[in-house]
């Protein structure tokens, strides 16, 4: 359906400059939180991903190794990270903080952009199961946006533990449960109501179930509604934990941006507790999503709590372009020296200026050059320079460069 011309998806210089600025800003945030920066392998095992993220199987870009085994291009960072940690850090209570900026090969859709891969940045904190850890993860994510000048944002906080505790009481057959989860995930209110009416549950349970996808809004009132709908201790405990996360966010100065959403689902059991998404004001897609995934590490024979998030930097870029927050393209050179005939002095001068830190291009007049590509132009003719139509010495050209 989407026919992006892959061969035209070139990243140009002004984009490189802006991506570099975005990347530098988020790396600084990671450093301030004491994260170690890592890069996971570009190639991953297809079967591993098929097992843990079956939903990703179709989206992944497959390739065949020299020995015939099927590999995929890095579809996410969390799984290999958790696997590496399980192998290399035997103490499961050790506090570990990692940050990354990596290309991930998965489809994404923005308002006007679409691609088969994107640049993702994120943070994962392992070993800490406290609500304060969730709070820090969310604050880090919010700081990513703030570091780029985006202060108007909305943090949607939820917990899948509330929904899971309700399900624990319903004793639904696996098939019905899968269907209900699917309809909740899609917030298909029409289908959910039809399904709920046919389930063997109490009237009260049915009412709570159909209310779940609409259980969102301002923190205070929504928490009140959620407490009124809480049917067991598991649901109450989930809300208590969410309150602690909210307290952290409030004390860190983000309380006014938090909205509660208890309709978040757990993506095939991946998330286990807090989940969140962050939206920049005016954007109709979330740029950041994350949450707590305490069960993933156990798949690699190490029980280790973990919480993290990822940000799609291509969507961020699109948003910044729409909001005119990007920096305009700068000339690639400070000085262009046009010449008909090169000479030893000219070559010495040009390379001397470069060693002093100026960006200089020498242009044979047989070539053309765009005037946007440099700030000053001088002409080399018969053994001397000409600047603004006047003869000028090499020192005069350098003095002019210094004034830029």
């Amino acid at each position: 359906m989407h026919q992006t011309l892959e061969e035209l998806q070139m990243v140009h210089e002004e984009e490189m400059v802006n991506y570099d600025r975005i990347q530098t800003a988020v790396l600084q945030v990671m450093h301030r939180h004491g994260c170690r920066i890592i890069q996971t392998p570009t190639f991953e095992d297809y079967d591993t991903y098929g097992r843990y993220f079956p939903g990703l199987q179709k989206e992944m870009v497959k390739t065949i190794d020299a020995d015939g085994s099927v590999l995929v291009l890095r579809p996410d960072v969390t799984l290999p990270l958790v696997k590496m940690v399980a192998r290399e850090y035997p103490d499961t209570r050790q506090l570990l903080k990692f940050g990354y900026v990596s290309t991930v090969f998965r489809e994404y859709y923005g308002r006007s952009t679409h691609g088969k891969y994107f640049l993702q940045s994120g943070v994962e904190i392992l070993g800490d199961d406290s609500p304060e850890c969730d709070g820090e993860v969310i604050v880090t994510a919010a700081e990513f946006l703030e570091a780029l000048g985006i202060s108007k944002m909305r943090i949607d906080l939820g917990t899948v533990a509330y929904m899971d505790a309700l399900f624990a009481d319903l004793n639904l057959p696996a098939e019905s449960l899968a269907r209900v989860r699917q309809e909740l995930e899609e917030r298909n209110l029409v289908a959910l109501r039809e399904t709920a009416d046919q389930l063997a549950v109490t009237r009260l349970q049915r009412d709570v179930l159909v209310e779940l996808p609409r259980l969102f809004g301002d923190y205070g009132p929504t928490m009140g509604r959620a407490e009124a709908l809480s049917l067991n201790t598991g649901m109450a405990k989930a809300l208590e934990r969410t309150k602690a996360v909210y307290e952290y966010l409030k004390n860190a100065g983000y309380g006014d941006r938090v909205q509660l959403d208890l309709g978040f689902t757990s993506h095939m059991g991946y998330y286990t507790d807090s989940v969140f998404k962050i939206y920049a004001d005016g954007a109709l897609y979330s740029m950041i999503s994350g949450g707590r995934y305490d069960r993933l590490s156990a798949q690699f024979h190490a029980e280790r709590p973990a919480c993290g998030f990822g940000m799609n930097m291509n969507l961020l870029y699109e948003y910044m372009a729409d909001e005119e927050m990007l920096e305009a393209a700068q000339p690639s050179a400070d000085l262009a020296v046009l010449y008909d005939q090169a000479s030893p002095e000219l070559i010495r001068d040009i390379n001397g200026w470069r060693k002093k830190g100026f960006a200089v291009i020498g242009v044979n007049t047989a070539n053309t050059v765009s005037s946007d590509d440099f700030r000053i132009t001088v002409r080399w003719k018969n053994g001397s320079y000409e600047m603004d139509g006047q003869p000028a010495s090499a020192d005069a050209v350098e003095a002019r460069l210094r004034r830029l």
């Binding site: 859709y109 909305r154 029409v190 289908a191 996808p213 939206y279 109709l284 897609y285």
Partner: protein, 207 residues
Amino acid sequence: MLHIALAKGRIAKTVMARLQAGGWKFPEYSDDSRKLIFTDAEGRLKVTLVKSPDVAVYVRRGAADAGIVGKDILIEDGAADVYEVLDLGIGKCRMAVSGIKGRQDVMKKRILTVASKYPGIARKYFASRFQPVDIIQLNGSVELAPLVGLADVIVDIVETGTTLRENGLEAYDEFMELSARLICNKVSYKMKQEELKKFIETCGFKK
């Protein structure tokens, strides 16, 4: 401002009539106008008319906050990646297999040729009956196909059955109830909850 994309045709006409009855004023709108985008007099609601398969595209990408489109289109498209929040109960019809009147036996053919605007729905229906079919995708006037020998049967929506009757066809099997649905962009659904509620109420739809 809430921005709603409506499927051109029957659905757009019904919803616009309901909106006007509910007190919304669209100075630039009339039934036969060719304009595709209208804003109400108070500047609170923007309505765009688009071809029905495009409604979900506008909504998913956030070019519109919400949309109204037939369930047939949503099923045919598969995962639209939008929230389906309300069955509006308008534009009710059924999906049916139809063919030439009195020739229902054609369904027993070993390989049936099926013409449809809904190749996905048709494929699923026959697959569930383990019947091999050859599906021809058409884009309109599907009723013609059995008459000119292009196909044995058609899979299409039936509202009153008049079109079928007038062309000497009849429905062999009506297998799916359909109606118009309110779909919503995932972010708009939360950000514009109040505006949406108001829209739903003034249209006279039940939440």
